[in-house]
């Protein structure tokens, strides 16, 4: 692979993977609403 393709793949896939993990982790770590919410059970 050429250097530019390698940079592109690492930058792009790293960003997308990082954002996916960041937001999903934030969902898992956010405590449930103190008021009643829509979900019938919790993860």
């Amino acid at each position: 692979m050429t250097t530019s393709a390698l940079i592109m793949i690492i930058l792009t896939q790293g960003t997308v993977l990082g954002a996916t993990i960041y937001f999903f982790r934030k969902v898992l770590r956010t405590p449930p609403n103190e008021e009643s919410d829509s979900y019938s059970d919790y993860d």
Partner: protein
């Protein structure tokens, strides 16, 4: 109007269902082909810009509209839109949010049934030792009704089985049906995709030809050519891909979100589901079809043949090169992955109808799902019976392409300009578990509608070949009195057949155009059938409120 007792079981379940709605066959089949045809690695730049300026805003708008409508007990777009304004005609724009889903579901379930058939055939080892010509013949026979009694019957049976699975899951409801499937299907899909991606990344050179290497395939996909960034065609292709991949402009997101309460977060949920779709598309989707095909067939072959049908006509041959055991495992992983991607999307497509008839006509879940199944069967049969006449593509063009853009443009104008950005912003940020960047306020108001408006107008008036220079050529032709030079796939040319004229018979035989036009009228009749149902529901509400 009835009050539903439906709700999501868990937040993760909702996110997986939303991501499953977005992750479809296009993540693995459309994205890499679009990238190859539009500048390779450079494609990702307009793609990510479109995601930030159009995709994320539309996600937030749709989640917010859905939760807002749910407050009034509405779970389908006609009455979700109706709640946002005093102008009554907006609810008829909302019909797109049911029609698009039913139209797409009709042909999408058919493709889903192919993946089911191919999964079973892979598991049986039917593709061991096959060559490309045999695979091509098998697929053509499978979809060709004129070739004999065996395959067409199996194609219809597989379609019926797939449809029945969908109907059954929908009849189980949101939490016990859709969410449960998403919680199983999404992890499996990601697991299958990761396995195939690792196989692709570790295969390297196969020695079958001079440029037969998966690395050459990856290089081909990711090598940037920055000169192409100035070409508007690339930007339109990237924006179009964002539309399809996020399933925005369909009405499914509104429907899923309408089961949330006002204080539930939507901003973070939308981000999480949106990026999860991006991960499946950019990381996994780009690693499978193109690199593996280049690894065994070479770059020239891929450049010439890259397309949607590679999934069925090429992939089993490529997996066969890995030996009999891995071939079966990879075949099941690949077609199983596509089946899961398909079914999580088709289930989402069924929910706006389910929400609509349960809300407005008090139908039970079973009755709603069975009538949906019958409607999809009737709408889907023309795509099976007249597949080779172009009916399938016609459905895809109007319901899977044009309708999305029209509805997305209408909803973002309604949200930002009619409902108003003050109330709109309040809806997006209410209960948010993340800080929503304020820059998105002007983006939603100005940039996103402009973005979608440009996509719509360029699709409407697309000149021959569609390159930047072709617009001035077409304009010069118009000014010279020779008329506009239409691209065959421009919306205007599609409607009026300007380039070819209307030819329904040739030598006494019905042409493909006849079948295509009849299917178009049929879809139009379905749309107005739904308009009539919305009108009846609206009158019923007036009587109840009187």
């Amino acid at each position: 109007m009835s009050k539903t007792s439906e709700s999501w079981g868990s937040r993760v379940g909702l996110i997986l269902a939303m991501a499953g709605n977005a992750v479809g066959l296009g993540n693995f089949l459309r994205f890499p082909v679009q990238a190859v045809q539009n500048g390779g690695g450079t494609f990702i730049i307009p793609y990510l810009v479109s995601f930030l300026l159009m995709g994320i805003p539309l996600l937030w708008v749709e989640w917010a509209m859905g939760r807002f409508g749910g407050r009034f007990g509405d779970h389908s777009t006609p009455f979700i839109l109706d709640n946002m304004t005093k102008k009554r005609f907006w609810k008829y724009f909302g019909v797109f949010g049911i029609f698009t889903n039913m139209g797409v579901m009709a042909y999408y379930t058919y493709i889903e049934s192919w993946t089911l058939t191919y999964t079973l055939k892979s598991l049986k080892g039917d593709f061991l030792g096959v060559d490309l010509a045999t695979l091509d013949t098998f697929f053509n026979d499978y979809v060709d009704l004129g070739s004999g009694i065996n395959f067409p019957v199996w194609a219809i049976i597989a379609f019926l089985v797939t449809l029945t699975i969908n109907v059954y899951i929908l009849s189980r409801g949101l939490s016990a049906g859709i969410e449960k499937v998403a919680k199983i299907a999404m992890p499996l899909l990601i697991g299958f995709g990761a396995f195939l991606a690792i196989m692709s990344w570790t295969t390297g050179s196969t020695g079958r030809c001079a440029d037969c290497s998966t690395y050459i395939g990856l290089n081909f996909l990711w090598e940037p050519d920055f000169t192409t960034l100035a070409n508007p065609k690339i930007w339109l292709a990237a924006a179009g891909q964002i539309f399809f991949t996020l399933s925005v402009g369909m009405g499914t997101i509104h429907c899923y979100s309408s089961y949330l309460k006002q204080k539930d977060d939507i901003a973070l949920n939308a981000m999480s589901a949106g990026w999860m779709n991006g991960f499946v598309e950019i990381v996994l989707g780009s690693a499978v079809v193109i690199p593996i095909a280049v690894g065994y067939l070479g770059l020239d072959w891929v450049v010439e043949n890259a397309g949607f049908m590679m999934a069925f006509k090429t992939m089993p041959f490529l997996f066969d090169q890995w030996g009999s055991v891995l071939s079966v495992v990879a075949g099941v992983a690949w077609f199983g992955l596509l089946f899961f991607a398909g079914i999580t999307s088709s289930l989402a497509m069924g929910t706006p109808w389910m929400g609509f008839v349960q809300d407005e006509f008090n139908w039970s879940k079973n009755k709603s799902a069975i009538i949906l199944g019958i409607a999809i069967l009737l709408m889907g049969l023309p795509t099976i019976l007249f597949f080779e006449k172009g009916v399938f593509d016609e459905y895809d063009y109007w319901t899977g392409t044009v309708s999305l853009v029209i509805f997305a443009l209408a909803e973002v104008i309604l949200f930002a300009w009619v409902f108003g950005m003050d109330k709109g912003w309040q809806e997006i940020t209410d209960g948010a578990d993340m800080r929503v960047p304020r820059i998105y306020r002007p983006i939603i108001k100005y940039i996103t509608p402009l973005f979608i408006g440009i996509i719509f107008l360029t699709s409407l008036f697309k000149p021959l070949n569609g390159e930047l220079s072709d617009w001035s050529t077409a304009m010069n032709s118009l000014l010279a009195g020779d008329g506009w030079l239409w691209a065959n796939d421009s919306i205007i040319n599609q409607i009026f057949h300007i380039n070819t004229g209307v030819i329904w018979t040739e030598n006494g035989v019905l042409t493909n155009m006849f079948y295509v036009d009849m299917s178009r009228y049929f879809l139009l009749a379905c749309f107005f059938g739904l308009v009539a149902m919305v009108k009846i529901a609206s009158n019923k509400r007036k009587k109840e409120n009187a």
